[in-house]
C-alpha cells in the first residue's frame, strides 16, 4: 500500500497545486475547455435538432451521425487535426475534436425528444391557431426539455472525458498531470492525476444530477 500513501503525499504537497503545471491551473484549463466546447456544441447541434425535430425530418441522419461518432476514436481525430494546419493554434485541434464528439449526443437526444412529444398535443396546438414558431417554442421545446437536458448531460460528461485524452496529444487540462507522470515514470503522480480526473468527472455528473433533482422547474425533467 506504499503506492497509495505516495499518491496521497503527491496530492498533499502544495507545490504540486501551484504554478503552470499545478493542479489548479490544469483544472481551470479543463473547466474552460469543457464549458467553451459545450457552449459551441449546443449552438451548433440544438438549433439543427430542434428545426429537424419540428419538421419531422432527418431522423436517420441524427441516428447515423451518433453511430459513426462512436466508431471514430477521439484520440485519432485529435492527432489527425494536430497534424493539419489547425495544429499551429495551441487549443485549436482540441476544441474542434471535442465539439465533434459532443455534437452527436446533443443532436440525437434533442431530435428524439422533439419527436417524442405527443402528436395529439401538437395537433391541439395547431388547432388553437398557433404558428409554427409558437408551437416550437411554447409546446414542443418545453415538452422535449428533459431529453434535451439528458443530451447536454451526456455531452458534458463526454467532454470532460475527452478533454483528458487531449493531454496525450499535448493539450492542456487535468490529463496533463497523468501524461507528465508517465514521462517522469512516477506512478504516484499518475495515480494521483487519475484520481483527480475521476473525481472531477464524477463531480460533473453529480452536478447534473443535482440540477435535475433540485434545479428550477423548467430545467428539471424526469429521466427517460
Amino acid at each position: 500500500m506504499n503506492l497509495l500513501s505516495d499518491s496521497w503525499n503527491w496530492l498533499a504537497d502544495s507545490a504540486h497545486w501551484a504554478g503552470d503545471n499545478g493542479v489548479w491551473h490544469r483544472l481551470a484549463q479543463h473547466v474552460t475547455l469543457t464549458v467553451v466546447c459545450l457552449v459551441i456544441s449546443c449552438l451548433i447541434a440544438l438549433p439543427v435538432a430542434l428545426v429537424l425535430g419540428h419538421l419531422g425530418k432527418g431522423g436517420a441522419l441524427a441516428v447515423n451521425i451518433a453511430n459513426v461518432g462512436r466508431a471514430v476514436p477521439t484520440f485519432a481525430v485529435l492527432v489527425l487535426l494536430l497534424l493539419t494546419p489547425l495544429g499551429q493554434y495551441s487549443e485549436g485541434p482540441t476544441v474542434v475534436a471535442l465539439v465533434l464528439f459532443a455534437v452527436p449526443p446533443l443532436l440525437t437526444n434533442a431530435y428524439v425528444g422533439m419527436r417524442g412529444v405527443d402528436r395529439e398535443v401538437v395537433r391541439a396546438a395547431r388547432g388553437m391557431g398557433m404558428t409554427g414558431r409558437q408551437m416550437l417554442f411554447r409546446v414542443e421545446v418545453p415538452l422535449a426539455l428533459p431529453m434535451i437536458m439528458n443530451g447536454v448531460r451526456i455531452a458534458a460528461v463526454q467532454l470532460v472525458a475527452t478533454a483528458t485524452i487531449a493531454a496525450i496529444a499535448g493539450g492542456g487540462g487535468l490529463g496533463r498531470i497523468i501524461t507528465a507522470g508517465f514521462n517522469l515514470a512516477s506512478t504516484p503522480q499518475v495515480v494521483a492525476g487519475a484520481v483527480l480526473v475521476a473525481v472531477f468527472a464524477l463531480v460533473v455528473e453529480a452536478l447534473f444530477e443535482l440540477v435535475e433533482r433540485f434545479g428550477p422547474g423548467w430545467l428539471r425533467g424526469r429521466r427517460a
Binding site: 484520440f75 485519432a76 492527432v79 496525450i168 495515480v191
Partner: protein, 234 residues
C-alpha cells in the same frame, strides 16, 4: 503505389514517404507487417475484453433481475465506472496490472459492463409475463425457462448493447497507447511524435473500418440467432 513525376526537386528520393503525404501507397507496402501486428493486437484486446465483459455481465443482469434490490446498486456502480475518463481508468489500474495488455483489457471490460448489464436487464424485463406463465404452465422449470424462453427473448436487446460496447471498445483501445498496448493507437501515437501523416491517417482509418466491420458482423450474427424478429418484420 503512385507514380510521382519529380517536379519540385527538394529531396532526392521523391516519393510520398519523403514528402510526408497523408495518403501513401509506399507506406502501405513497406510497413505492412507493422500494420498487421497492430491490427491483430487491436482485435485481440477488443475481443478478449468484450468476451470477458459478457461473461461477467450476464450473471450480474440475472442477479439484478432475480433480486430487485440488487438492480439499483449494480446499475449505479457500472454507471459510475462509465463516467471515469478512459485515460484515468487505465492509469488507476496501473498499480494493479502494470504496463501490460491486461491493463487495457481490464479498463475496457469495466466500460463494456455498463452497456451490457443495462441492455441485458432491459431485455429480460421486456419478456412478457404472459409468456413466462405460459412456459411455466407447460411444465418448464426455472433453468429451462431461463435458457429456452427468457434469454432468447432478451437476445435482441442484449445484442444491441453488445454492438455499442464493441464499437466503443474498438475506438477506446487507441487510448491504451499511453501504456504501449493500444493496437493501432500505438501507430497513431508514434506517428504524432514523428509528424508522420500517412501512418496516423492509415491507422485511424483502419480503426474506423474495424469498428464498422465488427458492427456489421454482430448485426448479421444477431439476425441469424433471432430469426423470429425477421419473420415478424416481414
Amino acid at each position: 503505389m503512385r507514380l510521382v513525376n519529380g517536379g519540385s526537386g527538394t529531396s532526392p528520393p521523391d516519393d510520398c514517404l519523403a514528402r510526408n503525404d497523408w495518403i501513401c501507397g509506399e507506406y502501405l507496402s513497406t510497413r505492412r507487417h507493422m500494420l498487421v501486428d497492430a491490427t491483430v493486437q487491436h482485435l485481440e484486446i477488443t475481443v478478449v475484453a468484450v468476451a470477458i465483459a459478457v461473461v461477467i455481465a450476464v450473471p450480474l443482469a440475472l442477479l439484478a433481475r432475480r433480486w430487485g434490490w440488487a438492480a439499483g446498486p449494480v446499475l449505479a456502480l457500472t454507471t459510475v465506472l462509465y463516467t471515469i475518463p478512459s485515460l484515468a481508468m487505465f492509469s488507476l489500474l496501473l498499480p494493479v496490472y502494470g504496463l501490460s495488455a491486461t491493463l487495457v483489457i481490464a479498463g475496457l471490460v469495466l466500460y463494456s459492463l455498463t452497456l451490457l448489464v443495462r441492455n441485458i436487464l432491459a431485455g429480460l424485463r421486456s419478456v412478457p409475463e404472459d409468456t413466462r406463465q405460459a412456459a411455466r404452465g407447460m411444465g418448464y422449470g426455472p433453468i429451462r425457462l431461463l435458457l429456452t424462453v427468457e434469454l432468447p427473448l432478451a437476445l435482441p436487446a442484449a445484442l444491441a448493447g453488445l454492438r455499442i460496447a464493441t464499437v466503443s471498445a474498438v475506438s477506446l483501445v487507441t487510448v491504451g497507447a499511453i501504456v504501449g498496448y493500444g493496437g493501432l493507437g500505438n501507430l497513431i501515437y508514434s506517428g504524432m511524435n514523428t509528424y508522420f501523416k500517412a501512418q496516423v491517417l492509415t491507422a485511424s482509418v483502419l480503426c474506423v473500418v474495424i469498428a464498422l466491420v465488427a458492427d456489421v458482423v454482430l448485426l448479421a450474427i444477431g439476425r441469424l440467432l433471432t430469426p423470429w424478429t425477421r419473420a415478424s418484420r416481414a
